[in-house]
């Protein structure tokens, strides 16, 4: 018989990037030196989490082509952001390939020039008056989510003397409990900047890097409109023996 208070497959911390990864310089002073304290028996505090089905979302919260205008009078083609129109979509599943329905997926990104709409980003590339760079949605009952956006540009950052981030979209998922909480980045298949990025290189296992690559999905693209990139998210597997109301 399995322990009733285990709900999730253990997180393999050697698969994830370590806290201290000196090639990514900011980790040096921001990584704990002490070992993590293992909770041998997690409790409801760790095994439960928020349900966002009652969070009221706007009609374009998952459509970054339409959800931001500096000048709201601009609509239609006059108000569209610059860049390659894309669909980013996929499924949230757990390690047993079970869909994670109705869970909150949030994303944020730079514009086509690699500039973020953030008060601390001063990169030379200009802001796009029709692009905010934030999206959110809930997965459907089968775990599917989708966003419409533009492909973000790569951008330089101060790490080594000439470090560039590959094009990427930051993505956040809650899953069924705070134990499954995960924030990662989706990279684009074939980008030559991926293998030389110090942040990607914090990950030791090549196969783990593959879990962060969005793949071109031509059949799901809209002809004469936009390409589609598929990005499935896998969260910790939920064991079958846990009962919520114990």
């Amino acid at each position: 018989m399995q322990d009733d208070n285990r709900r999730f497959v253990e997180r393999d911390r050697s698969w994830h990037p370590p806290a201290y990864a000196p090639g990514y310089k900011t980790t040096v002073a921001r990584s704990p030196r002490q070992a993590l304290v293992s909770m041998q028996k997690p409790s409801v505090s760790e095994l439960s989490g928020p349900d966002f089905q009652k969070l009221r979302m706007g009609p374009h919260d998952n459509d970054l082509l339409l959800n931001f205008r500096e000048d709201p009078a601009l609509t239609g083609a006059a108000g569209l952001p610059v860049g390659e129109r894309i669909i980013m979509f996929g499924r949230v599943v757990d390690q047993f390939d079970k869909p994670v329905p109705h869970t909150l997926v949030e994303m944020w990104q730079a514009n086509a020039g690699g500039r973020y709409r953030h008060k601390n980003d001063n990169y030379l590339a200009s802001l796009d008056p029709n692009f905010g760079g934030v999206g959110r949605c809930l997965t459907d009952e089968h775990g599917w989510y989708n966003f419409r956006t533009i492909k973000p540009g790569p951008y330089p950052w101060p790490n080594d003397t000439n470090s560039w981030r590959p094009a990427h979209i930051h993505i956040s998922v809650m899953g069924p409990a705070i134990s499954t909480r995960l924030i990662t980045q989706m990279y684009f298949e074939g980008d030559p900047l991926i293998p030389i990025c110090p942040i990607v290189q914090t990950i030791n296992d090549k196969d783990a890097v593959e879990t962060m690559i969005g793949r071109l999905d031509l059949p799901r693209s809209n002809p004469m409109d936009c390409l589609a990139y598929r990005f499935d998210l896998v969260v910790r597997g939920e064991l079958q023996t846990y009962f919520e109301n114990q």
């Binding site: 009652k54 008060k119 930051h170 942040i199 879990t211 597997g237």
Partner: protein, 210 residues
Amino acid sequence: MKQPNSVPCSELLLRETASQTAGPYVHIGLALAAAGNPTRDEEIWNQMAKPEAEGEHIEVVGTVIDGNGDLVRDAFIEAWQADGNGDYQREYDLKKPFNSFGRTATTFDRGSEWSLKTLKPGPVAHASGQPMAPHINLMLFARGINIHLQTRLYFEDEIEANAACPVLSRIESPTRRETLIAKREEVDGKVRYRLDIRLQGEGETVFFDF
């Protein structure tokens, strides 16, 4: 499909998607006002308790400090806690007087504090059946943090409950246990608890794996 019993069990499981840092611009996605951007109709933020919520209203504040002793100004924090009765309210609904989930961020100004307006949580049962002392679960994300750090905030005026808490007792070093205990302050007649989170070095906060 794989033939049953033909591969090690570990190969039957998918691997978790690997984590990456939330980066310096996490606010664009998860804390829009902090990025200097317009907010949507409903945002998940730091007012977990509305004035009409039943229970002891408190404010929880703190800083995040790195291994050089400098303030981390771009930290983003999520909180998950029980209500005053010790129940987790799973359904997030801004119409309710209290939500168990909240978000906050350190600010870019000099003081660089995060804050939550919430209720003092009640005790929650541990798996062993013993009660755990009132606590707030915190998840910390920032540039330079490759996978979020998980910790708990306890309350200094819960001396007996803290002493008996099965999770605090898991921490061998009594000195390190202290890193989770928020200090009580009273400001204009309001109760405020303060916890500074130290990422590294002297007084390093205890972070959990679960």
